[in-house]
Symmetry: C2
Subunit: 272 residues, 2 copies
């Protein structure tokens, strides 16, 4: 059976339009794609839905929601409304989940625990909408270096706690880049278990020259992908992996070269 | 009672020699200093001991040891020998502890769990020497963004586990920069309790432009210093705080300006 890999379209966002990237994904044998909201907005949800359907590809995730913390009630409500809209878009384009991240501290705030509570509150507020739309929300902890400005929820343990509290309709996204360092990784992947609905891959480079745009191609860094995949399969998830690489380096290369290397590394470096 | 603050000499290492920095620390009302090994090596341990004694300052820590993981047995033994030497130097200069960090992955390795085990083994190997010298080892977890190349031990929980296993002679260093993001911070500081023997302060800037040399002056970033200090005091540590800022920005300013701002921010931003 061929390896199943999905392409997060951020990986080639500087080289290609969404249409070009979908064509590239088909050409290189990907099983699916994961688009971002701004890409879908550019051609509209109806045209996007058609594009994905005609491609024969799965839409393994929709990026992204969450980001609930805000400085005031109006801001928090705006985030909730925006997440509901993202859920509707995901349903319209046939996405299998919406990926949610914590969001950063509100401007001027030093209250990380408060931001985390706002994430939980926002999540609770949009969950009925997600259930009604039958779109699971994939909760993605982000590396602690993003705790201040992007992802205030840093660990799988926190996301599993939220799943325990809020129940049905939630899942977990395990992104190797964000969780590889976790001393409790094996335990927390096992705990996430059947809730795992998304598995992203991306390597950690040494040195990392930029905190956002110097992520690595699998095999170029220090992450042990086979080991993490074994944990994930042991937890019950055997589905598609999704490659997502934010990289000034790879964004500067031709899209076909990037996808060729991605597919090769996926086959040689990422199998359990 | 005046605030008690120690100066980690890395904070002004680009502006000043160790002698100049010690003079500066006295001039600005610091209670102590924490030198680095290369600074002490430059003038020798005997002259360093005299310098500190004559200054009337405490030597609140000696930087640094640990870094046990290595690619082969010879490398690991070299690290153990080097740590014993650091302990002897610390005793000679009257340092109150040696600060130990995890160290990175051996070159070419993707085995983070293995590196962590090597840290534990190295620690166990040097601990009798530290006990005999009556120099406590302050175990400092480092921010997860350093897990690959500097500090494979990322959390207070892991360091407390090591203290539980190895016993007497070990303590914990809580550096706000490394632990502020930890969702279990309050619990793990409480658990560390009386083992806390070192409390470093440094702020997290948004954005952080460089992973090593863009650390922040207290008050310029997002860390809630009073909240963390309250946790630490509740755990039973009421000792000196130690400022340690690696920053291209602050290194480019006159040393007296840096120490003036440090002392001012310590008084206004870091009290419980």
């Amino acid at each position: 059976m061929p390896a199943e890999l999905s392409l997060n379209l951020a990986t080639v966002r500087k080289q290609w339009t969404m249409r070009e990237a979908v064509d590239g994904a088909v050409r290189h044998g990907f099983a699916g794609v994961a688009p971002w909201r701004e890409m879908v907005a550019e051609i509209g949800t109806a045209a996007s839905a058609r594009l994905f359907r005609d491609s024969g590809l799965r839409v393994t995730g929709y990026c992204r929601g969450g980001l609930f913390p805000a400085a005031d009630a109006a801001g928090r409500q705006a985030a909730i409304d925006d997440n509901k809209q993202a859920i509707d878009e995901a349903a319209a384009i046939g996405a299998e989940c919406v990926v949610l991240i914590g969001g950063g501290l509100p401007k001027g705030s030093r209250d990380l625990a408060g931001a985390r509570a706002m994430f939980a509150d926002g999540l609770a507020a949009v969950l009925p909408h997600a259930r009604a739309a039958r779109v699971p929300l994939a909760l993605e902890p982000m590396h602690p270096m993003y705790a201040a400005d992007r992802g205030c929820i840093s660990t799988l343990a926190e996301m599993s706690d939220l799943c325990d509290r809020l129940g049905e309709g939630l899942g977990i996204a395990v992104d190797t880049y964000h969780v590889w360092w976790d001393p409790n990784l094996a335990r927390e992947i096992a705990r996430a278990g059947k809730r795992i609905i998304s598995h992203h891959i991306c390597d950690w480079l040494v040195p990392t020259r930029h905190m956002l745009t110097d992520r690595g191609m699998m095999g170029d860094g220090v992450i042990d992908f086979p080991a993490i995949r074994r944990m994930i399969e042991a937890a019950g998830y055997r589905g598609v992996q999704e490659v997502e690489i934010f990289s000034d380096d790879w964004w500067s290369r031709p899209g076909d070269e990037v996808l060729r290397v991605v597919m090769e590394r996926f086959k040689t470096m990422c199998q359990p």
